[in-house]
């Protein structure tokens, strides 16, 4: 791990993050915009599967998920900048490990959803109830998104001492 941290610290990206004062605050703002896009669109889709906002076809809300993917991409890019800037603050941070684990579980949940439930959900009409398995996946998605936000906010408080 120390070798990896040392390598990251010598990359041009790390230099860029640490030598321009505006990079960190602007990246944080973009990170939060990405978070809002992702949780908003994915969360709305999840809520519909759970029965809130019935009357909207899940297929119609599914079209919004491309913005959720864009939000996730923004968060990953800016998150990478943070890690490039101060890698030791993340690699030795328990909250960061929880956050990454939750993101991994979200990825597994997405794969499960598209493999097992998406075809049935795509055929639902505006007033139809989602299958039980899809509801469980939507619930898991909301819980995991909340955990990602919580762990993300706790990062500062689990940082190793400088």
């Amino acid at each position: 791990m120390p070798a990896l941290i040392e390598w990251i610290r010598h990359t041009p990206v790390s230099w860029f993050v640490l030598n321009y004062g505006w990079v960190w605050p602007i990246s944080e703002s973009v990170h939060f915009c990405g978070l809002t896009l992702m949780t908003g669109t994915v969360g709305l889709f999840d809520l519909r599967l759970l029965g809130v906002g019935r009357g909207i076809s899940p297929r119609s809300l599914h079209r919004l998920l491309r913005f959720g993917v864009a939000g996730f991409a923004l968060s990953v890019i800016t998150g990478t900048l943070f890690i490039a800037g101060t890698p030791e603050q993340y690699f030795y941070n328990a909250a960061f490990k929880v956050k990454v684990t939750c993101l991994f579980l979200i990825g597994c949940n997405v794969i499960l959803f598209y493999s097992l439930e998406f075809k049935r959900v795509a055929q639902l009409g505006p007033d139809d109830d989602a299958p039980l398995a899809a509801k469980w996946m939507a619930g898991a998605s909301l819980v995991l998104l909340t955990c990602v936000m919580c762990a993300g906010r706790m990062l500062t408080f689990f940082r190793p001492p400088f």
Partner: protein, 169 residues
Amino acid sequence: MMALFVWIEQSALSVWVRESPSLLAFPFILFLHTLGLALLAGISVALDLWLLMGAARARRIATRGLFRAMWLGFAINALSGVVLLAAYPAKALTNWVFYTKMVLILLALLALEATRREVFDEARPGDTIVVTSRARALAIASLAFWAGTILTGRLLAYTYVILLASDPP
């Protein structure tokens, strides 16, 4: 004004939020503020995008549940925001970025309410949603207001002049 800030900073709530080592103090309140953002701005942004992308000619829907979720987000953010403000009153109230954020939140909420009346009001005639040019303009404005709110919210941490009135620089 500084005397008022000092008085707030010395209150039990302010000291607890600022100095308690408990994760339920400052860290948890910050998390609540993010959760409220996700509920209020997240759903609002998703509805804006839905109006701009796919709502035209969709059947009129009962959005009461969604608006309740957004108002719950607002309540969480208003309460957690007041507690965060109590922790560092001078940091926010001596910074023009804070007031810009407040104005942007107000504009976003006004746009949300105007959208509700324009598009989702259940008293409106007709069975289908009509996305008027006004509704589109409101959705675009709402997206801009929320982006501005997030930007100014994050910049608060970097633009303050005074952190604590009781401990001036």
